[in-house]
């Protein structure tokens, strides 16, 4: 146990030092995550305005007024930022440039240094983007969250979402062992994620068949669920099942990852690292 | 006849932004920038006739590349006049550019992802080379540089030496009258260095191209150039024939003696300036005029097993030139 603490602490220090080197560049990259939700917000706000300012969606926890949309997407900005990862791209580059092999020679699985890099990024950028986020909060007048209890439940849900998301996309990254032309596959993943995790629109506003798909796929656990929890939009009786779903998906993700990694390594060394 | 290249009091001064490290310094530098003036080239003058092969010699940062770039029109001088082929280089007249070429070691003009042949075709279009002339020049270059197997491969797949050959070919397709070579053998293996030098000499011989070569490899210069210009700290220290340089700066010879005994070697120390002594082997530096006399005395006085008399290595000569310059300042 102590081994892991030491390793992670050391890696974290290096990663943060690296971050501070990039400075401005990191900031720009962090803000990138905001652009998507902001555009979606603009679109939905216009739709709301076009309907004369009323709410959209079935009454109850599934309906959204302009202020509700603002709250939803503002929350998504933060949650999205805290759960983001880019290894799916990075990996393909590494395989192509030959930078992966040295990492594989170390007695530590490369995922750990990537995890610390990821965490370091989020730690440093959170501080930087907070002012921007607060500014947006003030400008947009979002609806505040409904319930404190739900909000507090949301926090571990975000952590879980981050874990699931990270491991799944790393499994996706592993595909680079077979082909570096991962653009289409990654794009497919992002499309599914965009719809089914609720980035394009709150899940309750999606057509029925999409909402149904969302129930059976991990994307909701990775995005919409923690967001809705934070906002207090999850009916009390669905909170626990939601968490169980997250745990289940985390387990599934880990299994998938292990299988893919093992197969990938075999492939990589067969072809010649 | 008018010299092809005329340089008078050419000067290049750079303003370099200075900054110390650390966070505080980065912030202050936003408001108040400190500048330092670097004299890259201090006031050089020389003339070069058509068909000469001239070597610019000097350590890194001496101002060789800067001078070359000014003559190629890539840099504007701070002061001074230069005329190449009747043009002022930095005006970048197309007529001027059509007749010169620059090859830089370690830097490629060839396009990376396509075969060299395709880059050649692009150059042909850019320089507007007539078909027949292009074919003729290309065939000659292919045979001289052994390019045949290299032409169809993408440039990024070639080794450094192969790439250099293709670069040279690309630079000569338009039959430039003046060829600037900036460290052309940098990073290339010894055999290839020799081939490149031979090729450049051939170009000068066959087509009368004027060649200006910078290098910090002595071998490049001794192989190709009769005339050298030594530059250090942006100033010309010597401009003339390579052979006379030795005589002027370092008028001595190195005598290497292999004595029969250690004591004999110790005794030999009295005959000249000792460069090195190891056991029974000793190297002496003896004034040129005195060499035959001293050698005769050594041979008659002491038991000499073996002896070699050499001109001082050209590197030492150049070193002396720099030393003298340092002492003068």
């Amino acid at each position: 146990m102590r081994y892991w603490v030491t390793v992670y602490r050391a890696n974290l220090k290096i990663a943060i030092a690296q971050m501070l080197q990039y400075r401005f560049g990191i900031l720009i990259w962090a803000v990138w995550g905001f652009v998507g939700p902001l555009i979606s917000l603009a679109v939905w706000t216009s739709a709301s305005v076009a309907r004369g300012g009323g709410s959209i969606g079935a009454a109850g926890s599934g309906s959204y007024s302009r202020a509700d949309f603002a709250a939803y997407f503002l929350t998504f900005m933060i949650v999205g930022h805290l759960t983001m990862s880019w290894d799916a791209f990075e990996f393909a580059f590494r395989v192509r440039d030959g930078n992966l092999s040295p990492k594989l020679l170390r007695p530590l699985h490369p995922i750990h240094s990537d995890v610390t890099f990821n965490i370091a990024f989020k730690l440093t950028t959170c501080v930087m983007i907070l002012p921007a986020w607060v500014l947006l909060f003030v400008v947009l007048h979002p609806t505040p969250p409904h319930s404190l209890f739900s909000f507090l439940c949301g926090i571990p849900a975000v952590v879980m979402a981050g874990l699931i998301r990270y491991i799944l996309q790393y499994s996706l990254a592993v595909i680079a062992f077979w082909t570096t032309r991962v653009e289409a596959i990654n794009q497919l993943y992002f499309t599914l994620d965009a719809f089914l995790a609720g980035r394009i629109a709150p899940l309750s506003l999606l057509p029925g068949w999409m909402g149904l798909m969302a129930m059976y796929l991990p994307f909701r656990s990775m995005g919409a669920f923690p967001v809705e929890l934070l906002l207090g939009r999850v009916p009390a009786e669905q909170i626990l099942p939601g968490f169980i779903m997250q745990i289940a998906w985390l387990g599934a993700a880990v299994c998938v990852f292990r299988i893919m990694w093992r197969a990938g390594i075999k492939q990589y060394s067969a072809v010649g690292a | 006849m008018e010299p092809q290249i005329l340089v008078e009091n050419l000067r290049k001064v750079y303003r370099v932004h200075e900054r110390e490290s650390g966070a505080k310094a980065s912030i202050t530098s936003l408001f108040h920038r400190k500048y330092r003036e670097v004299q890259a080239v201090e006031s050089v003058s020389f003339n070069i006739e058509a068909g000469e092969v001239v070597g610019f010699l000097g350590p890194n940062g001496a101002g060789k590349t800067t001078s070359l770039k000014m003559l190629a029109g890539l840099l504007h001088p701070t002061a001074g006049v230069a005329t190449v082929l009747g043009h002022t280089p930095w005006k970048r007249d197309p007529d001027f550019l059509r007749n010169i070429s620059l090859v830089m070691g370690n830097r490629n003009q060839l396009m990376w992802d396509i075969p060299a042949m395709d880059s050649f075709e692009v150059n042909r279009a850019i320089y507007d080379i007539p078909e027949a002339q292009f074919r003729e020049t290309l065939d000659e270059l292919i045979s001289l540089l052994e390019l045949e197997p290299l032409l169809k491969k993408p440039v990024r797949g070639l080794s450094l030496g192969e790439r250099m050959k293709c670069e040279l070919a690309a630079a000569l397709l338009h039959r430039p009258k003046v060829l600037f070579l900036d460290e052309p053998t940098l990073g290339v293996d010894v055999t290839m260095q020799g081939r490149i030098r031979h090729f450049v000499a051939e170009q000068n011989r066959r087509h009368g191209a004027t060649v200006l070569l910078t290098s910090h490899y002595m071998a490049d210069v001794t192989a190709l150039c009769k005339r050298i210009i030594v530059i250090h700290h942006g100033k010309i220290l010597y401009d003339g024939q390579l052979s006379s340089l030795s005589d002027r700066i370092a008028p001595y010879k190195s005598v290497m003696l292999d004595m029969e005994t250690d004591e004999a070697a110790i005794q030999a120390e009295a005959y000249g300036e000792v460069i090195e002594r190891k056991g029974a082997k000793i190297t002496l530096r003896i004034k040129r005029e005195k060499t035959s006399e001293v050698v005769a005395r050594l041979l008659s006085d002491l038991p000499v097993q073996d002896m070699t008399v050499e001109d001082p290595p050209i590197e030492d000569v150049i070193e002396q030139v720099f030393q003298q310059a340092k002492e003068a300042t």
Binding site: A184, F195, I200, L205, L206 | G73, E121
Partner: protein, 261 residues
């Protein structure tokens, strides 16, 4: 003219680029189509709740989207590769080779590379625009076609100038990767009509990073909604942009070669 012939040579050479890029072509089309699906899907979800957004109907939005893809494709094919190469050359000191050639440095540096294999978005853009024009049952008369062609040309001119300006900055600032990102994000915003953005942002998208002129104006022209003054403004802005950015390039070049002002 000679420069026309050179363009043909550059084009032909660019076709030679390696197999690797060619195979990427199909992956790219697939990825782009999926991206398109995302945007269209998103739009259709929104339009189940309303029939128009700020006066734009779904079909209008699709027209806009098609221009977005068309412009994006043109940038990826013609402008992006050259501008990136210039930045790389400044960084590595190989821009000198461009300056040594007996032709205009600006022409050579900005047109030499043409990445044919990035055609994916151009194809999508064309396909989508044909589709949406049909849907809107628009009859494209000669006037409209000309207006469209002109505004597209103006757009390309504006994009070229904008990028040239950014790239010229590398003479002083060497790395502008961050600026590039900001521009890319702003361009993303151009997928949707700028009317949906708050007024304070609209100004930025019109005058600072001129997304409006790049995308919205040609889209309006295609949909037959552009009027004379708008088309004229585009042309004037494009002409000014090209002139100014070329001047700036020459200025940057003088600085690079150490010519005193």
């Amino acid at each position: 003219m000679r420069y026309m012939r050179l363009l043909v040579v550059f084009f032909k050479t660019s076709l030679q680029t390696d197999m690797e890029y060619r195979v990427d072509f199909f992956t790219r089309i697939l990825a782009s189509l999926l991206g398109l699906l995302t945007t269209l899907g998103g739009l259709s979800v929104v339009f189940t709740y309303t029939s128009n957004i700020h006066g734009w109907k779904l079909a209008d939005m699709v027209v806009l989207l098609s221009i977005y893809y068309l412009m994006d494709g043109i940038i990826e094919m013609f402008i992006g590769p050259n501008m990136r190469q210039i930045m790389e050359q400044v960084r590595q000191g190989t821009l000198d080779f461009v300056l040594l050639k007996p032709i205009s440095a600006q022409f050579l540096a900005t047109t030499r590379q043409i990445n044919i294999w990035r055609m994916a978005n151009v194809l999508i853009g064309i396909g989508l625009s044909i589709f949406s024009v049909n849907r809107l049952s628009l009859s494209i008369g000669p006037v409209q076609a000309v207006a469209f062609a002109v505004t597209m040309a103006a757009s390309v001119g504006i994009v070229y100038s904008f990028w040239l300006f950014l790239v010229t900055l590398t003479f002083w600032v060497v790395r502008i990767d961050n600026l590039e990102q900001i521009v890319a994000q702003a361009f993303e915003a151009g997928r949707y009509p700028i009317d949906i953005y708050p007024s304070w942002l609209r100004g930025g998208l019109t005058y600072v990073i001129p997304v409006v002129f790049m995308i919205t104006v040609p889209a309006r022209a295609l949909a037959g909604r552009a009027d004379g003054p708008q088309v004229l403004t585009s042309i004037i802005i494009a002409a000014c942009a090209v002139t100014l950015s070329s001047w700036f390039w020459r200025f940057g070049l003088k600085n690079y070669t150490g010519a005193s002002a």
